[in-house]
């Protein structure tokens, strides 16, 4: 029979340990540290050293690798195209997704089927989608050319992937297509939280469809647009398969974005040190954008 006092003391100690916030955070923090902080630390270590192509560290070089990246004309080109790429896909997918989400939110016969069809691109791996599109855009035997010729839009084949002026816009369009399902999911969640009586009241007051959209739907959807912007920016900024499968960043690096340029540096040219420096730069860029955007969006909401 144990001593009642010590038993109580034990229970107290157990409780105090369990409600300690650091103890509660610890499992999640350790997991996050393992999968985020540890690679980050080791890649930072590589970025400030001279490294051979087998990953063996040599001399400490400070910021030399970063200077190499900044001095590389390909870096600035890729940075500019990354901005166009992210803005094009994020803005494009939001503009398309809002009306589609509103239609899918309305009650109509076959809505379930329509939702499934809209979501389908999400179920297919990004690489598969990109391969199918690369075939479709083939200049000689692609479905895109033969389709457009059949309906009379084109009178001769376009070599879609032969130059950046056609390849890059098409890559952004594919990016929009595959980003739409996720964006719609966010907006459907947002729309279902808009109370129906607001719409009823507006209709009683004689508001037209555009006014309802501008004065009710859009303002209430705004937090969800912010979520879509932040999440999509993070995904699209680091999205590799579409560009790699269709053009590998070519011809002559004219469709390279930062992440394809990073891959070439690291795995084709074996410049692991410069590649590590670039990936840290990309991490900082993305983090800075996200923090800035979230702060601006939050401030607006509070005001």
């Amino acid at each position: 029979m144990p001593d009642p006092v010590s038993r109580q003391g034990l229970a107290q100690m157990n409780r105090s340990l369990l409600v300690n916030p650091y103890v509660l955070i610890a499992p999640g923090f350790i997991l996050a540290a393992l999968i985020i902080l540890w690679p980050l630390a080791s890649i930072t270590n590589i970025a400030v050293h001279d490294v051979n192509r087998f990953g063996v560290l040599r001399d400490y070089v400070g910021f030399e690798n970063f200077q190499v990246i900044f001095a590389d004309p390909e870096f600035l080109g890729a940075l500019r195209r990354t901005a166009i790429w992210v803005f094009g896909i994020v803005a494009g997918s939001i503009i398309v997704s809002i009306p589609v989400a509103m239609i899918l939110n309305a009650d109509f016969y076959g809505r379930g089927l329509a939702r499934v069809i809209i979501m389908l691109p999400w179920a297919i791996s990004l690489t598969m989608t990109a391969i199918v599109w690369a075939w479709a855009m083939n200049g000689e035997s692609g479905m895109l050319n033969s389709g457009l010729r059949a309906i009379g839009v084109l009178d001769r084949n376009i070599q879609w992937l032969a130059q950046a002026s056609t390849a890059f816009p098409m890559q952004i369009l594919i990016g929009i297509l595959v980003t739409i399902p996720f964006t719609i999911t966010i907006f459907l969640g947002g729309l279902s939280s808009v109370p129906d009586d607001l719409y009823e009241a507006a209709r009683l007051e004689g508001a037209n469809g555009w006014q309802v959209f501008r004065e009710i739907t859009l303002p209430l959807l705004k937090p969800f647009v912010n979520i879509a912007v932040v999440m999509n920016t993070i995904y699209v900024f680091n999205s590799f398969p579409i560009i790699w499968v269709t053009t590998q960043g070519g011809p002559a690096k004219s469709t390279d974005i930062l992440v394809t340029y990073l891959y070439k540096l690291g795995f084709q040219y074996g410049r692991l040190d410069d590649a590590s420096a670039l990936s840290i730069l990309m991490f900082v860029l993305l983090l800075a954008f996200t923090l800035l955007y979230v702060r601006l969006a939050m401030r607006e909401e509070k005001a």
């Binding site: 084949n157 032969a162 070519g250 040219y269």
Partner: protein, 410 residues
């Protein structure tokens, strides 16, 4: 009780296995998977070798795409195999880290003398033999005999001038038929240009150690290719055609001429056996110069291998005549040993004998650390030229590329 005894048994068994392993000196060989025949070939050779010598050989078959990655990972962990197949152009990267064992004193003179000397050259650095050629390939021009006959082209073009005429005639046959298939995308875009560069008397690295792209020969060769594009005798949009895309056009009978490796003949035999085609030398330049691209893969021994003697014995075994005949004919490679080159399986083959006859003019990628990046710069320059309007961009683009390459050259 039964748990304890079975645990003990397992322990004893593993201890025995350890002792056995140490005594038998197993060797490990990493091989690149060239085709579905590669794995079975090396496993059969390993089994026969074990039956003969008692040394067990573990074969690790790795797809080409991930071979470099695997070796990098193994090396950084210090866990590389005893022997490995590598692309010969990687040799410099491995050798500069002192990872490769010189073979001069390890292999017998008899083994060394089996090879065609030209194939050993790319593996010799600072006078030391660092690898043995295990696979060799060269490039030649494929021509579609039916298209030539329809267009009234009577003989296979001997030089680029004749080729331009013949290609124009073939292109005139129809809207979706093209005279000359020009590769302008992805890996080896630069190589497709080097064929022309060499025939114009140029070189990748000139005698003074700078990039050959800065020479007049480079400008002339690029101007010639650009002329073919602008005359409309190549497929349209060359910068979207990788090697497989151009080969597909050839297999569909829509391209008169293209330059590629022996494996296209294997594909044609399997996929379109009725295609009426032939193989000849790459056209010569204005001064009669010719050049084809030779590629070899080497098998190397790692410096930290504890079983160098056994590994050398396996090399001696697997480079025996009968094994080499089976390997080269199965994979469609050119013979690297003299006795196999004289074997009827190769000497009498109409396609392979043409490729083999070109080997004296074959050039290999220079053994320079970081060659992949130099190749990418050259490829980008060619794509810019193919895309540009007119000829005015050719010289400046090439000289800018040459400057960037010179900065990377040692």
């Amino acid at each position: 009780m039964s748990f304890v005894s079975s645990g003990r048994l397992a322990l004893a068994a593993s201890a025995m296995a350890l002792v056995a392993g140490a005594a038998m000196a197993d060797i490990r060989v990493t091989v690149a998977e060239y085709s579905s025949l590669t794995g079975p070939f090396f496993n059969d050779a390993a089994a026969a070798f074990e039956a003969e010598t008692g040394t067990k050989v573990n074969i690790e078959v790795v797809p080409w795409d991930v071979l470099f990655q695997k070796l990098t990972t193994d090396i950084s962990a210090g866990a590389q195999a005893d022997l490995s197949i590598i692309g010969t152009r990687w040799l410099i990267d491995f050798a500069s880290e002192d990872l490769v064992a010189p073979l001069d004193d390890i292999i017998s003179d008899d083994l060394r003398e089996r090879f065609v000397p030209a194939f050993l050259d790319p593996s010799i650095m600072d006078g030391q033999l660092l690898g043995l050629p295990v696979a060799a390939s060269a490039r030649a021009m494929y021509f579609n005999s039916d298209l030539m006959a329809q267009a009234g082209v009577e003989s296979v073009p001997e030089n680029w001038e004749e080729l331009a005429d013949a290609a124009a005639k073939i292109s005139a046959l129809g809207d979706d038929i093209y005279g000359f298939g020009l590769q302008g995308a992805e890996i080896e875009t630069d190589v497709y240009y080097y064929y022309a560069l060499w025939s114009y008397g140029g070189d990748l690295i000139t005698a003074d150690g700078t990039s050959g792209l800065g020479t007049q020969a480079a400008v002339d060769a690029a101007t010639m290719y650009k002329g073919l594009i602008d005359a409309g005798v190549t497929e349209p949009g060359v910068t979207s055609y990788n090697r497989e895309d151009v080969q597909n056009l050839f297999k569909q009978g829509r391209v008169g001429f293209m330059i590629t490796a022996p494996f296209l003949a294997t594909q044609i035999a399997n996929e379109v056996p009725d295609l009426n085609y032939g193989v000849s030398a790459i056209p010569a330049g204005p001064d009669g110069d010719r050049g084809t691209y030779g590629v070899t893969d080497s098998i190397i021994m790692f410096e930290n291998s504890p079983n160098k003697e056994e590994a050398a014995a396996f090399l001696d075994f697997v480079f025996g005549h009968d094994w080499r005949v089976r390997f080269d004919s199965g994979e469609g490679f050119l013979p690297v040993t003299s006795s196999v080159a004289e074997d009827p399986a190769f000497a009498d083959d109409p396609v392979l004998s043409v490729f083999a006859s070109l080997l004296p003019t074959a050039r290999f990628a220079p053994t320079i650390a970081g060659w992949e990046e130099i190749a990418a710069i050259a490829s980008d320059a060619m794509q810019s030229i193919y895309l540009s309007d007119g000829d005015s961009a050719i010289a400046p683009t090439l000289s800018a590329a040459a400057d960037r390459i010179n900065a990377l050259l040692p």
